[in-house]
């Protein structure tokens, strides 16, 4: 499909179903407000077509994947926002309280540092991107490198990060060397 074509409703619904299944399978929830959620999913597809990857529909992407990596959905900030605000920044993902209706989603303040304060992989945390080595504390020997998913915190000890995070489905490029 070409960039200018409208995104088909069936395409939006198919992605919403897939994201729902993936979320529920890992203990996450999509926003139960269906129209709202479909609007966000349509935004993800618009961004996928525009940039080649599904950037958060509520954030401004640069089009440079390396710089946008932290805001590819699910973003690096989702889990912290779920804890603090009961929803992620755009509110595609919500916590239990919002799901059962005891809490309403309000505006979630932007946790991502502004452009001038970001380095490398989007975030301003000085993390080591996947594939790069991390200096180990002296004396510490690990039999295998330990990789951390920057989206959900999943850790695994293996030669290279998995292609897709088994918990949150983030791709290998979202992993950092942890140990």
């Amino acid at each position: 499909m070409k960039r200018g074509d409208a995104i088909a409703k069936s395409e939006v619904e198919a992605l919403a179903v897939r994201l729902t299944n993936e979320a529920e399978g890992a203990g996450y929830h999509l926003n139960p407000d269906r129209d709202f959620t479909l609007g966000l999913v349509e935004g993800l597809l618009t961004n996928a077509r525009r940039y080649g990857y599904q950037v958060c529909p509520c954030r401004l992407a640069t089009g440079n994947k390396e710089k946008d990596l932290d805001i590819i959905c699910p973003c690096d900030y989702r889990d912290a926002d779920l804890v603090d605000w009961g929803a992620c920044y755009c509110a595609l993902y919500v916590g239990d309280a919002v799901l059962v209706g005891t809490k309403k989603v309000g505006p979630v303040p932007e946790r991502r540092p502004p452009a001038a304060e970001r380095v490398g992989n989007g975030a301003a945390r000085g993390v080591v991107p996947a594939g790069k080595s991390l200096p180990l504390p002296s004396g510490l020997v690990v039999a295998l490198p330990v990789w951390r998913c920057r989206v959900c915190g999943y850790l695994c000890a293996r030669e290279a990060p998995p292609g897709v995070c088994p918990i949150c489905k983030a791709k290998a490029e979202r992993f950092e060397r942890f140990l």
């Binding site: 529909p57 509520c58 755009c90 303040p109 932007e110």
Partner: protein
């Protein structure tokens, strides 16, 4: 969707500047609220601008809202960030 434009509204209401993203559902809700309230506003969807224009507009957004998030509304020397219907209505009354 146009990157920039103006929406007319009631003469007795101050004109608002609306910075948003075309893909953002919160921006959509905020714009709808302004239209429902009959507020005149100038809008710009930053994601639809070309690079040079985007940098210039982001400079404006940053001055009001250092977190560079959307929607950003500027009205009569103050700024409201995010979809905050009560706050927006209150600001429009005062």
């Amino acid at each position: 969707m146009e990157a920039r434009g103006s929406v007319s509204g009631r003469q007795d209401r101050p004109r608002i500047r609306f910075y948003g993203l075309s893909t953002c559902v919160w921006c959509r809700r905020t714009r709808q609220l302004l239209e429902d309230e009959g507020i005149p506003f100038d809008y710009v969807y930053v994601d639809l601008l070309d690079d040079d224009e985007r940098e210039q507009v982001m400079g404006e957004v940053r001055r009001w809202n250092p977190s560079e998030s959307f929607p950003t509304l500027v009205l009569e020397g103050r700024c409201i960030v995010g979809y905050r219907p009560e706050e927006i209505k209150e600001a429009l009354r005062s």
